[in-house]
Amino acid sequence: MPESEANPTFSKSTGLPRKRFYRARAHSNPLSDSHFPVPVSPRHVDYTAHFPELFPSYDQVDGNSQRIQFADVGCGFGGLLISLATLFPETLMVGMELRDKVTEYVKERILALRVTNPGQYRNVSVVRTNSMKYIPNYFEKGQLSKMFFLFPDPHFKEKNHRRRVISPHLLDEYAYVLQVGGIIYTITDVEELGEWMKACLEQHPMFEPLTDQELEADPVIKLLSTATEEGQKVARNGGQTFTAVYRRIAGSSS
């Protein structure tokens, strides 16, 4: 644990990392393979490293033990994860982020929160990875109950649409890691992207939209636009957000 006095990147008052020392460009190229370790398979994910208080020794992770159920894809500075951690204290969740500095920030933030709030935030962690290539390496079939895609990179140019994190092909993989009944949450302030994501989900045979009543009843929906930096910025600027929340349904062969 870094000491607050010696390390100016941490605030003396809150013990939390200061964002300005972890600034990075908003955009990162998902096509370039940066050099971060990738687990060979979901069984190789190091639960002890991510959740040390819940899995003190490596031997404790077996077929019956608890596994990650929520994934925040492109978690940014971790706003959503931090809110979800206390809302669902019994659920393991992980953020996936491509940018190095930002992942470091989230890591430090979680560690600091665990110190300042004993017993809390033990269920949340972050991993630096390219979720467009390696999601099947982290999660078994039907493992996740919720997946989040908050304010993803719009990749405006048509030739870059293939880099969008929600696409017809990638939805196959997201459907694979989500359990039947699992929910995918997407939100953006870019209208065209919102229409794109909705259309992709609508056309995919393994997703169906949530009804208005279901959306009303879901405590997570509100967090999509309020819990993150991006969401707060959009609200400050009086912008509009476009959400598409869908449920994973059984395939035709099941």
Binding site: L31, N137, P168, H169, D172, G251, S253
Partner: protein, 435 residues
């Protein structure tokens, strides 16, 4: 960016253009096909003479290296595809091209559904496409088809495509160590969205796939070969890894040259039908390794190493018919940079792989490398498929090295030191290549 410069044909990546020779054998051994570079050569074993392919365009019918060839299960169709972004479907009766499908990117793998109704091909950007061919008139005029996207491995070169024996699944392997098993739907043109499993375990690019079945287990197991020098056995329904066989150490044992073990990749697999054997071709080994699969214990073990002693022969591709009597393999290269040779190919056959007759006799595999005269079609076949009868040993060693380098360059992500990465970012060009 690295991906695009490979795909748009970077001028400084000459090594990637070197293509290994590949072979395919008709299911009832009516014919044998070999592709070396852009040259497609077929020998008809029933009439005992070479085949002249017929197409609307001018020879060579493929304008660039052919990377994948395949016969359909019923033997009526033959497919060839490669770096010229064309998938050509041929009738094996007339050897006329009956359909030409355009791909946006260079094609790296091809497969035909067991019922012969669909052709699937994969490109170097990771997309698998499907073409509907059930109303294709085998004797009709050339009809060019359009392909629909079936599934994709994000930004990865797909190295192999295989249908499961029961036709329910399509398996795709990539250079990012992954094998994806997808349900092949009733309406493939709408996409294969349901993933059955991922077979994860390899630590390098996956280079080859094969299914091995037995009478008791008709759906069989999946075998995969990789750049990590292993062959692995999988249950595709669950994606579980049943066994791993370190064939790389076998190659090192047989070869005494003690060269670097950097890229001792498995290059091809061929399951011998009606037996529990699978042949493995691996870089550095002059010959093949025969692995035996035990279906009850779900394990793999080395049954025999078949060495080729008189020649420098490291197989680049293998094939056999449904009868599994003979294993055909080829070594060759599209062109060598420094040599005068346009292309090289050498073909060999191994027989005696299957147990003969008597069930009481001991489990003896006596595989034998046939001499040139003992091969079906002998001199005429060799002349047609190899391009010539004479072989220059020294050139084949250089060829083996060149192919090894080409495969590594293509399938293994280059690790650049930090300084050159920054420089590369500055000079990279995101503009689309001119059509």
């Amino acid at each position: 960016m690295e991906e695009d410069s490979h795909l748009e044909g970077g001028e400084n990546n000459r090594e990637i253009e070197i293509a290994p020779a590949i072979i395919a054998v008709h299911p009832t051994q009516d014919s044998v096909a070999v592709a070396v570079g852009s040259d497609l050569r077929v020998f008809d074993l029933r009439t005992d003479c070479g085949v002249s392919l017929v197409d609307d365009s001018v020879e060579p019918f493929h304008k660039d290296s052919v990377r994948a060839i395949r016969y359909s299960a019923n033997g009526k169709l033959f497919v060839s595809a490669g770096d010229d972004k064309l998938v050509k479907i041929w009738s094996t009766d007339t050897w006329r091209c009956i359909s030409s499908v355009s791909s946006e990117k260079r094609v790296s793998a091809v497969s035909i559904s067991n019922d012969g109704l669909y052709v699937c091909f994969a490109d170097k950007f990771g997309v698998v496409w499907v073409v509907d061919i059930h109303d294709l008139d085998v004797n009709g005029a050339l009809s060019n088809r359009k392909a629909a996207p079936l599934l994709a491995h994000y930004c990865s070169i797909i190295t192999r495509l295989e249908f499961s024996p029961d036709g329910c699944f399509i398996v795709s392997a990539d250079r990012d160590f992954k094998i994806r098993v997808s349900v092949f739907p009733k309406k493939p043109l709408e996409g294969a969205h349901e993933i059955q499993s991922f077979c994860l375990g390899h630590t390098q690019f996956v280079s080859s796939l094969a299914f091995i079945c037995s009478k008791d287990l008709p759906q069989g197991f999946l075998l995969s070969g990789s750049g990590d020098s292993t062959v692995r056995l999988w249950d595709i329904t669950s994606g579980s890894l049943l066994d791993t066989c370190e064939v790389g150490s076998q190659a090192a044992l047989s070869e005494s040259d003690g060269s670097e073990e950097s890229c001792c990749a498995v290059t091809d697999l061929c399951a011998i039908q009606d037996s529990n054997l699978v042949a493995v071709a691996i870089q550095g080994l002059q010959g093949i390794i025969l692995l035996g699969c035990d279906f009850s214990s779900k394990t793999l073990s080395v049954a025999k190493v078949v060495s080729i002693t008189e020649e420098n022969f490291i197989p680049t591709s293998m094939g056999s018919s449904s009868a599994g009597e003979l294993l055909w393999f080829v070594t060759g290269i599209s062109k060598l940079r420094d040599a005068d040779h346009k292309s090289l190919a050498r073909l060999k056959v191994v027989s005696g792989l299957r147990k003969k007759g008597h069930p009481e006799s001991p489990d003896q595999h006596k595989p034998v490398v046939l001499g040139d005269e003992e091969i079906p079609g002998s001199q005429k076949l060799l002349e047609k498929l190899q391009g010539s009868l004479s072989i220059d040993q020294s050139v084949f060693s250089a060829a083996a090295e060149a192919i090894k380098t080409a495969m590594c360059n293509l399938l293994i992500k280059k690790q650049y030191p930090t300084e050159s990465r920054e420089w590369r970012k500055r000079t990279r060009n995101d503009r689309k290549a001119k059509q």
